[in-house]
């Protein structure tokens, strides 16, 4: 694990940002030095932001690898020939696919998703029932020509996405895997610190068949979901016959209704793409059969934005434990050498098992505490002359700090992260 000195960290905190930015996630992430917008819907991830992205990616990798899925990496460049087979080249996937010509006049597209490319690959890699089932995913940049990209990281024109595709011999096998991914998604969002509900939805531009969306409650949401806090039943209010105050059809608890953001979606694609690409397999009896397909997406940069929308207060971000860029924020108030030495010793001890952000900047105590709350690392340890040799131990999500010894502070950090196996 590591110590990052804040005086060296690329990405400064700031008090004001471009007034045109209205979304809370982009405001807080920009002010706290996690991201920098370069154009509408397009962001740079500064070192703090990239650390969160990698935490999110690794949660997803762990859960998908446990299902037997394999990671690969497909390119962004797409050919007209391949996308014409599904018919999606012609309408630019409902107008969102960037298309242009290279210097030789050849048509190129940027992938808004990868159904066509993965299905084309499957036609060459899968022949027999022995090659199935196949579960493959990637973590990769997507490009979508979104007419509205005003929600910070929630709606990007260029954004990081995890897309998983399943190919199975039968519809029944597909449904079993669909359900496993459904359950894995709920675990993934829980680990990100998000409470999510799955709702049935239409497939939109990506699928003609039924699908599920995973909704997270936040005021930034564009959808309204009616849901049961008790058993997890939920529906989009546009298709639901029930409303706030009604009884849950599954457990009879009283239903609630909130604005929600879609954090992930899963699509049953039946044999739509595989038939268009003639992706077939030979079964045990020697007969050619259609391959059944489903697709499963999570927007990774979008998840980062959603987490901030769902977990902040008036002072700044409150990172959930498993996606925080650093585990502990040590803030040194004052520049006395003995104070700095004691704080560095604490940082070194903690850094054997945890990632530490160490505020050694030459700023006022008020500015440093302001920034620590803005950045939102779950544990703050404040080392100052006033309380020496004790330190202030503060959980970001709680109001009160405690005065404890450094040894106690180390024990608390271990209990918080290491013993729960969260790092």
């Amino acid at each position: 694990m590591s110590i990052q000195y804040q005086s060296k960290l690329f990405g400064r905190t700031r008090k004001d940002i471009n007034a045109e930015e209205v979304s809370i996630n982009a405001q807080l992430l920009t002010r706290a030095g996690f991201v920098e917008k370069s154009m509408s819907g397009v962001f740079t991830f500064l070192p703090l932001g990239l650390r969160v992205i990698k935490k999110i990616e690794n949660i997803i990798r762990e859960e998908l690898n446990n299902l037997g899925a394999q990671e690969l990496l497909m390119p962004s460049f797409q050919s007209k020939e391949v996308w014409s087979k599904s018919g999606r080249w012609q309408d630019k996937v409902g107008g969102i696919m960037y298309q242009f010509k290279d210097s030789s006049g050849k048509d190129l597209g940027l992938a808004p998703s990868h159904e066509e490319m993965i299905t084309d690959l499957v036609t060459r890699q899968v022949n027999s029932y022995k090659d199935l089932p196949l579960y493959v995913y990637q973590i990769q940049n997507k490009f979508r020509d979104e007419p509205r990209a005003k929600s910070g990281l929630l709606r990007g024109r260029e954004f990081l996405m995890k897309d998983l595709y399943s190919f199975t011999a039968t519809a029944a096998e597909k449904e079993t895997f669909y359900q496993s991914v459904h359950d894995a998604y709920l675990r993934i969002f829980t680990r990100m610190g998000l409470r999510s509900f799955s709702v049935e939805a239409s497939g939109g531009a990506m699928s003609k068949k039924y699908s599920h969306e995973f909704m997270v409650i936040t005021q930034a949401g564009e959808d309204q979901t009616v849901f049961c806090e008790h058993c997890g039943w939920a529906q989009n209010i546009e298709i639901s016959r029930l409303k706030k105050g009604d009884k849950c059809p599954k457990c009879s608890s009283i239903l609630k209704q909130e604005k929600t953001v879609e954090a992930g979606n899963i699509f049953d694609q039946e044999t739509i793409y595989t038939d268009a690409f003639k992706a077939k397999y030979i079964d045990q009896t020697g007969k050619e059969q259609s391959i059944h397909m489903a697709a499963f997406g999570i927007g990774i940069s979008r998840a980062m934005g959603t987490i901030v929308e769902a977990s902040h207060d008036e002072r700044g971000i409150i990172w959930p434990d498993q996606v925080t860029p650093f585990n502990v924020h040590i803030v040194v108030l004052g520049d006395e050498p003995e104070l700095l030495t004691a704080a560095k010793k604490l940082a070194e001890k903690l850094s054997t098992e945890l990632d530490i952000l160490f505020d050694d900047r030459d700023l006022s105590p008020g500015q440093k505490m302001y920034d620590a709350d803005l950045i939102g690392i779950p544990i703050q340890i404040i080392v100052g002359k006033k309380n020496a040799p004790k330190v202030e131990f503060k959980i970001r999500s709680q109001k009160e700090a405690e005065l404890i010894t450094m040894t106690e502070a180390i024990e608390r950090c271990q209990k918080y992260y290491v013993k729960k196996d969260i790092r």
Copy 2:
């Protein structure tokens, strides 16, 4: 660590590939199931290939983090406004920058490199001498409209690259860091199993100032380098006054000459970009000063191709130890249950510390041995009825196999990887 059963691995080996593919790297990587070409200069990395990419990335990360460099992630989409400041929008960076318009008519470019974007970012993030030096890098997709893309992974239109940028207060500090990166690059290529020489070169489209290229000897090379095997002195023959057989100007050994591939390059960019963007800092005396810049690239997918060009034989790839997709390839010949049980027990023991590829496919012994040599994992352990309870232990780069016990095989693998801390 892990066990991957080959019967489940996505990416099949094959005997013949598209006849138009002339490069050895693309031929072998495609036949062995590491990559799949989707169009000229554009490849999918299948699970085996992505494992190699991640090994290469992590070697680079380790070495650059040791220099105090910080990782971030910039987008591919670039604005005309920003790139016009350097003048490179107008000539499309010598014709290689993809440019097009989105549905609203706005100009967009795909980044062939990121000097403009990082310098623009630095204007907002750096004010004072206290903010310098700054070393930032990313591992990210680049796009270049290459007229010729016929060398497999060596020349891509879409390719993975590590680009590092340094910003320093003085030219002297820049030169010190330039030299540290120079030395780190030699370590990085050595860890990839590549013998590299640095040569002075012109900056090409990326820089007007002097630069160094890192050359790797292989027959696929487009350049010719005259070099000294003894002390590492080297020059491109186009600018060298010396030739094969002459004496080395540094150590008087006899010079050699070989075809080489450029595996990395570093550019002194002085204040060209920073002045164009008015990226200034305030020095200790309150005076405004220019920021000095240098840029450092390594093509990651290109490195994978270069490794294959430099390390293969007539049977297939020979992966260097630190970039191999798996550490040990266990090949089971025969389908007797007791044979499979013994091999799985071996795999489980090894997998506590190493990554294992386990060939459990229902194929002939000849086909399995053929594939193992083609895939090129450094250690093969062949478990067959003929030699039971002993196994054949074979180093891929050596001709002879040895008959040893499973316990001895485990010890050999530990000695090969774990004790050298290579995994």
